[in-house]
């Protein structure tokens, strides 16, 4: 009702009903431009190439999580190509000192994997010993770990000038998904993202694949840490006495081929799954060594299946740990992998059903460059499909993209990421919360549904009204009076991301509704 009551006294400013632009009382540059295009320029854009401003919006929607204030102007000025080149080399882009300081102040994202696991195991032990308050301490500690891990991710996604790096982290984390709600992975996902995913996000695919394969978060998540030769008896156990790890587990081997590399139609059989699982027996971690000296991987030779294997049409002579490394080499260089990864990248960055010729071209570069992700991305960005007018806005934002892009467009400082995380959860995409190894999809079919639109509009309305407690946890700070977003500023930030039709409807609406209408508009649902 608050907004309704405020309606009566709204002032007409930029969103005057579509009429002669000359009479407007000095709108910002991009909004003026945007309104000019209402006249007919954008309508004709279906067939024509994208205008420079439209290109800037499009690139910011794909290579970044949408525009922040001033981004469109900046990209237009430096040129789209220069922006893309810059983004492909994140190491050349300086972090703002405030972001660096914020990330440095977080505890978990800066701790060694072993230290976080050590704390986790100790708290579990105390819970087992039924120490008073241990449960509460454990819950609080786990909550802090989860919150800090999420804060590090979202602070970067919203504020990092290395936006492509953040977009690639989102892509690769989903590709090599690990569910943070499973046991010890609660303590490991921060390290997994920091040590395995992020450093390789634009690097070499084989290196990235190897980093995930060796990381305890993945070893635990897909059970390979338990997988042993059939009949293996752990040291200290009598033969026949059951231990936890006394046989083969296929889980990781299957997903390694189905999801991480070849793809489900990549031409492997159930026998190939079993044989690969045998080759990977002994790939594990030693929890004590992890805690004591941050040793995150161990090849446990006694667990390894010493027999020879027959995998993907080749004979594999017994070679211990090297069998698994060989398998990763073969998988990383396999043409089916090149196609699968290229398809997924094209789907994420271009459109839900990507052009086969584009996928082919990317796959060829994938192979020729020996899996250099940056080279593959360069081909994608240079393709006619990427900047084609029908690609602009073609993707429906995932909940993650929607929430992060709204935070960016709003330019609201986000000290408390809680409301953003809660919204992602409500929308079906809890951060680090995908239980299954396929990760979250990024297609319209997966995310567009009646309830989702209502919820997104609800979030947009609260954000625009300044009612989300983003300034700090409500319990810790005195709730600040809600400061509504300035709709002119939001409109200027989004520029041509908002269509003439939507601008017209917003212009005809009461001012207090306008910022919500922008962030909840059909135009803002897509990228």
């Amino acid at each position: 009702m608050r907004i309704a009551a405020a309606c009566s006294g709204y002032k007409r400013k930029v969103f005057t009903n579509p009429g002669p632009i000359m009479h407007l009382p000095f709108p910002s540059r991009s909004l003026l431009l945007a309104l000019c295009i209402c006249g007919g320029g954008a309508a004709a854009a279906d067939n024509a190439a994208l205008s420079p401003d439209q290109q800037a919006v499009h690139v910011l929607n794909r290579v970044a999580f949408g525009p922040r204030p001033g981004d469109i102007e900046r990209v237009t000025q430096m040129g789209v190509q220069n922006y893309l080149d810059e983004q492909l080399h994140p190491e050349t882009i300086a972090y703002p000192p405030e972001l660096t300081a914020r990330l440095a102040a977080l505890v978990t994202p800066n701790r060694k994997a072993g230290d976080v696991v050590g704390e986790y195991v100790e708290l579990q032990k105390q819970v087992r010993d039924e120490d008073d308050g241990a449960r509460q301490r454990r819950r609080a500690a786990l909550m802090a770990v989860a919150e800090e891990t999420a804060e590090a991710r979202l602070a970067r996604a919203i504020d990092s000038p290395r936006q492509l790096e953040e977009v690639m982290v989102d892509f690769w984390y989903n590709h090599f998904n690990v569910f943070a709600g499973k046991g010890i992975d609660r303590a490991l996902v921060a390290s997994y993202e920091r040590d395995a995913i992020r450093p390789n996000a634009l690097g070499n695919f084989r290196t990235l694949l190897g980093a995930t394969a060796h990381h305890p978060a993945m070893l635990f998540y897909l059970d390979n840490f338990l997988s042993t030769a059939n009949g293996y008896t752990p040291a200290g156990k009598r033969p026949g006495q059951k231990g936890k790890a006394t046989g083969l587990n296929e889980n990781y081997a299957r997903e390694l081929m189905e999801l991480h590399t070849l793809g489900v139609d990549g031409g492997y059989s159930q026998q190939d799954v079993t044989e690969l699982a045998r080759m990977l027996t002994g790939w594990t971690y030693d929890q004590r060594a992890l805690i004591r000296s941050n040793q995150t991987f161990k090849f446990d030779a006694p667990r390894h299946d010493q027999g020879s294997k027959h995998w993907l049409g080749r004979e594999v002579a017994p070679a211990g740990e090297a069998e698994g490394e060989m398998a990763l080499d073969v998988l990383a260089r396999h043409p089916a992998t090149a196609r699968n990864i290229s398809y997924q990248l094209a789907q994420y960055f271009v459109q839900d059903e990507p052009n086969p010729a584009l996928v082919d071209r990317m796959a060829r570069v994938f192979i020729a460059s020996d899996g250099d992700i940056r080279s593959v991305m360069r081909v994608l960005f240079a393709s006619s499909q990427f900047l084609a007018p029908d690609a602009a806005g073609a993707k429906f934002k995932t909940p993650y993209q929607f929430v992060v892009s709204a935070a960016r467009a709003s330019a609201t400082p986000v000290k408390n990421v809680g409301p953003l995380l809660a919204t992602m959860t409500q929308l079906g995409m809890p951060l680090y919360g995908c239980q299954t190894p396929d990760g979250y999809k990024n297609t319209q079919q997966a995310w567009l549904n009646p309830d989702a639109l209502t919820r997104r509009i609800s979030f947009a309305t609260a954000l625009a009204a300044g009612r989300l407690p983003l300034a700090g946890k409500p319990a810790m700070v005195t709730p600040a009076p809600a400061i509504a977003l300035d709709p002119e500023r939001v409109a200027a930030t989004l520029g041509e991301a908002i269509s003439p039709r939507t601008r017209g409807a917003i212009a005809a609406s009461a001012e207090p509704l306008r910022a919500a209408m922008l962030l909840g508009s059909p135009d803002f649902m897509q990228r």
């Binding site: 587990n249 299954t436 549904n449 309830d451 639109l453 919820r455 059909p522």
Partner: protein, 424 residues
């Protein structure tokens, strides 16, 4: 041991089933029930999908097969009557003890199982197998719609967005297609007012979304469905206020599936337009440490069984006009793996309950779990195509004809299931 001799040996054994008489949910066959059954949306179908491949051999366990415990020395369920033992079903099969809440339904003959059933496609990929089970076109990936959406299209009467609903934040593959469907969030949010209920905000967004080419339909479906759900919730509240004996009125239910099941039943009873519902539950991919009578699988089964019992009970007389199917993309290996878990398998067990179900039986062409009987030496064969079960429900419960069945389940190789699961 053969099934017959086992039955024999159990004849004087401790069968723990006690006849309980007609239970509360089956007791009243009120006029509401028969009235609503006569309307085009009177016959209801609820599909529960267990994503991740539930271990059917520990849900309906062949405890009477001498091979069972040999294959599953640590995770196998003990014989009925023993500590942590299975709950006897028919002297050969035993129900997982965490599903005790379903025993009365079994005794009432309102619950049946179809063992060694599933998709004929041999994939052991969760994602492909789920896709096939939801499109009902195994082996064909480009089917654009889900079978439940095609089924809604075939039903008589005028469609409304709330005719088919799903619980959860995303629209499942099975409901995808040209017919409108709605999804309700989990938890209490489903029946509370939303931002678009505020007149000025609703009007503002109507302008943006009305007739919008890309999002207009989803937006409008959301509004219509929300209005219906709010109306149903309001009449449910009014009904509850009048109910004399509503012991659980207003009491918070356990979180998760029992909670959602109760809400679903209440909505269905109060919105006669709702006819088809879908719920999916995850967390069944038990590769390690799945446990036996207790443990990971038991912890998942417990709320499922409770929720299904709540659903049956809360539907009240409507349960007589409802069929509930529980299915999962494939089964798991007959042999436990080295980590007290099971890997991806093939055949599984389907669960069917409802007023028209010829229950109290385990159906299917069961060949045991001896080495020779296993598919590829590792898991159950599929001797009943899941579509044959679904088609029989569509035909006998929802009264759909052959031509409609052929549209919902195209190119189905197997004809009618060789058993009468559903009373005519």
């Amino acid at each position: 041991m053969q099934r017959r001799s086992f039955l024999h040996s159990l004849a004087f054994g401790a069968s723990i089933l006690v006849p309980v008489g007609r239970s509360a949910w089956a007791a009243s066959s009120s006029s509401i029930s028969s009235n609503s059954a006569a309307s085009p949306t009177g016959k209801k179908l609820i599909v529960i999908m267990l994503r991740g491949a539930v271990d059917g051999l520990n849900v309906v366990a062949p405890v009477g097969d001498e091979n069972y415990l040999r294959l599953r020395p640590t995770i196998g369920l003990a014989l009925p009557g023993m500590d942590g033992g299975a709950l006897d079903l028919d002297g050969y099969f035993g129900l997982h003890p965490a599903l005790a809440a379903l025993q009365p339904l079994w005794a009432e003959k309102k619950l049946a199982f179809i063992h060694a059933s599933g998709s004929p496609d041999s994939t052991r990929s969760h994602f492909d197998a789920q896709d096939y089970m939801e499109s009902a076109t195994p082996g064909r990936k480009n089917t654009p719609d889900g079978w439940l959406n095609r089924l809604v299209a075939a039903l008589p009467g005028a469609p409304t967005p709330s005719r088919a609903l799903s619980i959860g934040p995303v629209m499942p593959r099975i409901l995808r297609g040209p017919m409108a469907a709605m999804n309700l969030p989990n938890g209490a949010g489903a029946t509370s007012a939303n931002v678009l209920d505020r007149k000025d905000i609703g009007a503002a967004f109507d302008q943006l979304y009305a007739n919008h080419e890309r999002f207009g339909r989803a937006y409008q479906d959301g509004k219509t469905a929300h209005a219906e759900v709010m109306a149903a919730a309001a009449s449910a509240a009014a009904a509850a206020a009048q109910e004399m004996n509503a012991a659980d009125r207003g009491a918070p239910l356990p979180n998760g599936f029992p909670d959602d099941a109760a809400r679903l039943a209440t909505l269905m009873r109060n919105d006669p337009k709702m006819q088809v519902a879908f719920v999916d539950l995850g967390g069944w991919d038990t590769h390690a440490g799945q446990g036996n009578a207790k443990g990971q699988l038991a912890n998942r089964l417990l709320p499922l069984g409770q929720g299904l019992a709540v659903l049956a009970k809360k539907l009240g007389p409507m349960f007589d006009d409802t069929t509930i199917v529980v299915m999962s993309e494939f089964g798991r290996t007959a042999r436990e793996n080295g980590n007290g878990g099971t890997d991806h398998g093939h055949g599984n067990v389907m669960w069917v309950m409802g007023g028209a179900v010829n229950g109290g039986q385990v159906y299917g062409d069961w060949q045991g779990v001896g080495d020779q009987a296993l598919n590829e030496g590792r898991d159950l064969p599929v001797t009943t195509d899941f579509r044959a079960v679904l088609a029989q429900i569509a035909e006998r419960h929802l009264a759909l004809g052959d031509r409609q069945l052929a549209k919902i389940f195209p190119n189905m190789p197997q004809g009618a299931a060789p058993f009468k699961l559903i009373q005519a």
